[in-house]
């Protein structure tokens, strides 16, 4: 930096690059492609991941453990009396699980399904009815648009109330506000206390709303469905979901839950535990493979470009032997010559990287436009691409610069 030597070197390098434009472009090509490949690859996979995260956020997150009843009796075997006496998944299982994981479970939801006729002055359809309890709505990413959600009392007392999804609301009350109106579910009149916000998500912009079916929900308190619509005094449920934000304890909790439930189910495994997070992570790790592939592609083109650079630099070194000789004659040390060559190479790498950013951004824009997903570019991807370009630019510049700096000034001056 002393006496602006760095500035002078950079300036001289810039002149050299500008004077040999065609050669310089060739030299930056490898870096440009490498940076574009790393940046584009990262951006596309980031965009995709961000998009899928978005979908999961709208579904209430993926840090969930699903418990569902399953057949304990294998096909072709006669069930034992014990197996016949089994009741399957019950409401108590949810509270057992919550007690077991008091420290790790953030929320619990209980679902009880039924299929019943739903009638209003405007519509009469057979519908899937979802009996819900506890934190079902937030756990599934539902938000109240008008009215209210169920109170704890609604659930415990099995009050005849319901909450409608956006689609259900517009089918049964196309005219307007459904809140306060009465619908008949099966034979029971229930009052609509809330309407849910419409849930919308498109995998691709031109494709339909993948959450459309979620807007069809007709939610009632689970005990209401079990007791008054199905006459089940055992509080059997169709699904229990535990929200566990800390992924590390998921496995331990799963083990504990399995053995606790087995104990209370007469040692029958008549349920199935499904770790959503593990499934998502597995899919994610497959996504990581693409990241690595893109990174490798970038590195390969950086190496290729680097070798082209070494070649060109060595070839031009022949043209520049005399220049090096003159500089040495007037007092440039080998170190100075080395620095000059390195500066030029690093400047080229930098320019190549900037060009690569442009190409990479364009590339990502095109691909995400084709995939019809929103583009998301992480600043870290730029940093990575730049660092890789810098690293390879540096490593491949070393040899030619070293060679230039080791020339004898006498020989260099005589060189024709």
């Amino acid at each position: 930096m002393l006496s602006g030597a760095f500035r002078e070197r950079t300036l001289a390098a810039w002149v050299e690059i500008r004077e040999n434009l065609a050669r310089s472009i060739l030299q930056t090509l490898g870096v440009t492609l490498g940076v574009a490949s790393v940046l584009g690859g990262f951006s596309i996979s980031d965009s995709q991941r961000r998009h899928s995260d978005d979908a999961w956020a709208k579904r209430g997150g993926f840090d969930k453990l699903n418990v569902q009843p399953s057949a304990a009796i294998k096909d072709g075997t006669t069930p034992s009396a014990l197996q016949n006496a089994n009741l399957g998944l019950r409401r108590d299982d949810a509270s057992d699980g919550e007690r077991l994981g008091a420290k790790v479970v953030d929320a619990v939801s209980v679902e009880k399904f039924a299929r019943l006729r739903v009638r209003s002055p405007f519509g009469d359809q057979e519908r899937q009815i979802t009996g819900i309890a506890a934190d079902y709505l937030p756990l599934n990413g539902y938000e109240i648009e008008r009215g209210r959600a169920f109170s704890a009392e609604d659930i415990s007392k099995a009050t005849a109330v319901c909450v409608l999804g956006a689609e259900a609301s517009s089918v049964f009350f196309p005219g307007g506000d459904a809140v306060g109106q009465v619908i008949r579910v099966g034979d029971i009149p229930v009052t609509v206390v809330g309407v849910l916000k419409e849930k919308i998500f498109h995998w691709r912009e031109s494709e339909g709303n993948v959450f459309a079916w979620r807007n069809r929900i007709v939610a009632l308190p689970a005990p209401l469905v079990a007791r008054r619509m199905q006459g089940d005094a055992y509080h059997r449920v169709d699904r229990v979901v535990f929200k566990i934000p800390n992924m590390d304890v998921m496995q331990d909790f799963t083990k504990g839950l399995t053995s606790a439930l087995k104990t209370s189910h007469r040692l029958q495994e008549d349920f199935r535990i499904d770790d959503i997070a593990a499934r998502v992570r597995k899919r994610r790790s497959q996504g990581e493979v693409y990241n690595i592939i893109f990174m490798l592609a970038g590195i390969v083109s950086l190496i290729g470009g680097g070798m082209v650079n070494v070649n060109i630099q060595l070839a031009t070194l022949k043209e520049r032997v005399r220049e090096v000789g003159v500089k040495m004659a007037i007092g440039a040390s080998g170190r100075e010559v080395f620095k000059e060559f390195m500066t030029e190479a690093m400047l080229l790498s930098g320019l190549g990287a900037v060009l690569g950013f442009a190409v990479g951004v364009a590339f990502s824009k095109i691909i995400t436009a084709v995939l019809e997903i929103p583009l998301y570019m992480d600043p870290k991807s730029f940093l990575w691409a730049f660092l890789l370009a810098g690293l390879f630019g540096f490593v491949f510049a070393l040899y030619p610069a070293f060679k230039a700096s080791r020339q004898s000034p006498m020989e260099a001056l005589r060189y024709e």
Binding site: S3, G4, A12, A329, I330, G331, G334, M410
Partner: protein, 226 residues
Amino acid sequence: MNIIETHGLTKTFGNNGVAVHALRGIDLTVARGEFVALVGPSGSGKSTLMAILGCLDSPTEGRYLLDGEPVEGLSGPALARIRNEKVGFVFQNYNLLPKASIARNVELPLLYAGVPRRQRRQRALELLERVGIPEKANVLPAVLSGGQRQRVAIARALANNPAILLADEPTGALDSKTGAEVLELFQELHGHGNTVILVTHDAHNASLAERQVELYDGVIRNTEAA
């Protein structure tokens, strides 16, 4: 006091097979402020001696004191420093950097010496004034005539106030009129107290020097005052 003192300088090229003895025991002294012409036919060792005197090359054997400082056997960076500070080269084919402006060419030795930018520019302009082409500071060497280019090269050689000016056939690529002007400039510099060593095989040019040193087959055959 002598600015150059050599004792038994030898230079041998090629270590196995055929050895070429370019210099075979040179004892030469040049006093401060002297104007010496180094003459001799081609192959006599002029260029080799000049390279060693200019610290571009090291002797195989012998001692060389430049400005009272022994320089034989010094490392590369140390020699680069001496070339930068104590030696000013003027070549037959100017050897200017074609892509740098005249001022930048002249500034280059100052840059290597670590002189700050402002001072560099100022000194370069002074030097261009001194060699008679102050108005050409911002042009590229390609637009200058041969004589002007050689003046730039001289300005560059003078940049760090060197102990010796080494000119290798400085008029070789110039027509006789411009050549004479360039030689006049050297004489003028000599008049201002600069030590000039002129390598030439032109007898007329050599006659302008105070003293001629004639090299033949790697030894000094004759040294005579003009």
